[in-house]
């Protein structure tokens, strides 16, 4: 190799060794013996140290260098697996994720051209499936998970998010702010502190603003649940009909009004349709925002068309502070679903995020039944047994689906 030491730093073979060590460390594959060998390796020369630090810095920068990439996991996998037995034409297609339309004049939209050997004259099979596209930076990156899939994603600002099964999250990082859109599903955010760039998570009905904290956002058809594990977040319901306690006009006062929580406790549904069932401790109302602190949870529920019908702040018992809540939020990263008096419709929705075989409630009234218990997310069997034996429901399982219906009358008679 034509490596110029003075300019390029450590030579390629030292860097190669450094890369291997780094990957070993990141993979958690370094035991005491390997650690001794690594230290001996580092002590060989300043170049070894430099190579390792360079490798580490490069490794850490990759998410940032790739910040404007959109990755479709399935396509990347399909593509890698296809190598060897399919000849691919040079400019394989550019993929467009279905809900993205390329905006005109985007700065970054280059096509990935695969470097694979092209059997030039052959009219070979071109894979039409696209791989990924770069979009304009401010369109952000989309992360999507399949049923039962979970991902941990490090964002360029140092924050991380754990994206739950069957979820889609779009992330836009800019100098002004950090904007995350939860399109479906659930994500747990650990936000790196950066007061100059608020971290805002949005769903249709809710915005959650944080500076440096850890919280979970779960979007369901029935509403959005925010669970705070650490720090404090501001929750701003988005609906125009959300007019909490109308005499505090939005943004009129930056001060906390100590009278509000007690009013909230007795709060009747206002004409705007807003109601707070329980508002405890440090969760206070300020302007339109509800502040939710560590160990607390709020659900902004939607009823009717766009009316925010109710908001509940419940304090999670401290003995279970890390990890549980009424509908299993924040315990899901362990793939355990915990329900406490949760409506069956929510439970079914949850399970369907983890299992290919989808559950269906034959009768929507079944959805209001309440259920408590701890279940393994990707093993429906215990839940099905529970429904069948404890709730006396009829569970019919086929290869493709699971139907849940009320017990037929003959079954009831046999009991």
């Amino acid at each position: 190799m034509t490596t110029d030491m003075s300019r390029d730093g450590p030579n390629a073979s030292i860097f190669a060794e450094a890369s291997e060590w780094l990957v070993d460390f990141r993979a958690g594959d370094v035991d005491a013996e390997a650690r001794r060998r690594f230290n001996a390796w580092l002590r060989r020369s300043p170049e070894h140290i430099q190579a390792y630090m360079e490798a580490a810095a490069l490794w850490g920068d990759i998410p940032k260098l790739a910040a404007d990439m959109e990755v479709d996991v399935d396509s990347v996998v399909a593509n890698a697996r296809a190598q060897g037995n399919i000849t691919v034409l040079g400019a394989a297609g550019v993929g467009v994720l279905s809900d993205f339309t390329p905006s005109s004049g985007h700065r970054y939209s280059h096509v990935v051209r695969w470097p694979w050997p092209v059997a030039a004259a052959l009219a070979a099979v071109a894979i039409a499936a696209g791989f990924f596209t770069w979009w304009q930076l401010d369109r952000g990156s989309l992360y999507a998970t399949a049923i039962g899939e979970q991902r941990s994603i490090a964002l360029a600002d140092g924050s991380t998010m754990e994206v739950g099964a069957r979820s889609r999250v779009r992330v836009r990082l800019s100098r002004e702010g950090r904007d995350v859109e939860l399109l479906t599903g659930q994500a747990l955010f650990s936000v790196a502190k950066d007061p100059s760039r608020p971290f805002v998570v949005r769903t249709d009905d809710t915005r959650v603003r944080a500076v440096g904290t850890q919280f979970d956002v779960h979007r369901r058809s029935s509403g959005t649940t925010v669970t705070v594990l650490e720090g404090r977040v501001a929750v701003l319901p988005e609906s125009t009909s959300f007019v909490p306690f109308s005499d505090s006009s939005p943004g009129s006062s930056a001060e906390e009004d100590p009278s509000l929580p007690s009013r909230a406790d007795t709060g009747e549904p206002s004409s705007g349709g807003f109601r707070v069932d329980r508002l405890e401790d440090r969760a206070t109302l300020r302007g339109r925002a509800l502040y939710v602190s560590a160990g607390e949870q709020i659900t902004v529920a939607v009823s009717g068309n766009q009316t925010v019908a109710g908001a509940v702040v419940a304090r999670i018992p401290s003995s279970r502070a890390i990890g549980t809540s009424a509908a299993g939020d924040a315990v899901w990263t362990g793939r355990t679903l915990m329900f406490e008096n949760a409506p069956l419709s929510d439970v079914v929705e949850e399970f369907n995020r983890y299992n290919e075989k989808q559950m269906t409630l034959a009768d929507s009234s079944l959805g209001t039944l309440r259920i408590s218990g701890v279940f393994s997310a990707n093993k429906a069997a215990s839940l099905l047994r529970f429904m069948s034996e404890q709730m006396h429901l009829d569970v019919t399982e086929t290869d493709r689906r699971i139907d849940i219906s009320p017990k037929s009358s003959s079954d009831t008679l046999q009991r």
Binding site: L42, P46, L58, V76, R81
Partner: protein
């Protein structure tokens, strides 16, 4: 004991200021500014002085911690500043110098180009492993399963990907006048 204390301190520093610090030091390493000509040398010498290196749990954080310390000392001496240099001042400087300004932005743009060029040269499996693990956040086990290769192989792919990225950054360095 003492080593562990020291390690705890530097690891704490690295944990709190890790990213900015890595960027900063990486920038210094790449550009070898006259200000800190012997940063690596100094880090090396200090690392040799560690009595029980095997007790260092995170060598990476440790090295960057030492480097930060060297820089910090160098700066307080150079500025003939009072002994109490506030870490916040140093950090605000760190945040400013490599992260913003036209020069740094150009550098970042070039590095993104280098990165994409490196990606385009990677064999499909190497490319897929890097993207799935580092960008999409899949674990090595998940990547191995999806690609139908062994976990050990995904590690080789990742190391190869890093080397390709570095080669492309060096290419630009050589092309430059």
């Amino acid at each position: 004991m003492q080593d562990e204390d020291k390690e705890a301190v530097v690891r704490d520093l690295a944990a709190r200021h890790g990213r900015a610090l890595h960027r900063f030091l990486a920038f210094r390493l790449r550009n070898a500014l006259a200000e800190v000509p012997d940063l690596v040398q100094e880090v090396f010498l200090r690392f040799l002085r560690v009595n029980r290196p095997d007790s260092v749990r995170s060598p990476e954080a440790y090295l960057f911690g030492i480097a930060r310390h060297v820089l910090h000392q160098h700066r307080s001496q150079a500025a003939a500043a009072p002994a109490t240099v506030d870490i916040a001042d140093v950090l605000s400087e760190i945040e400013e110098s490599p992260g913003s300004g036209p020069e740094a932005q150009l550098e970042m743009r070039q590095r993104i180009e280098d990165f994409h060029r490196a990606l385009s040269r990677m064999p499909p499996n190497v490319y897929a492993t890097l993207i799935l693990n580092r960008v999409a956040g899949l674990t090595l086990e998940e990547v191995a399963e999806r690609l139908g290769v062994s976990r050990g192989m995904t590690k080789k792919y990742l190391a190869a990907a890093l080397q390709q990225c570095r080669r492309c950054e060096q290419e630009r360095g050589r092309d430059a006048p």
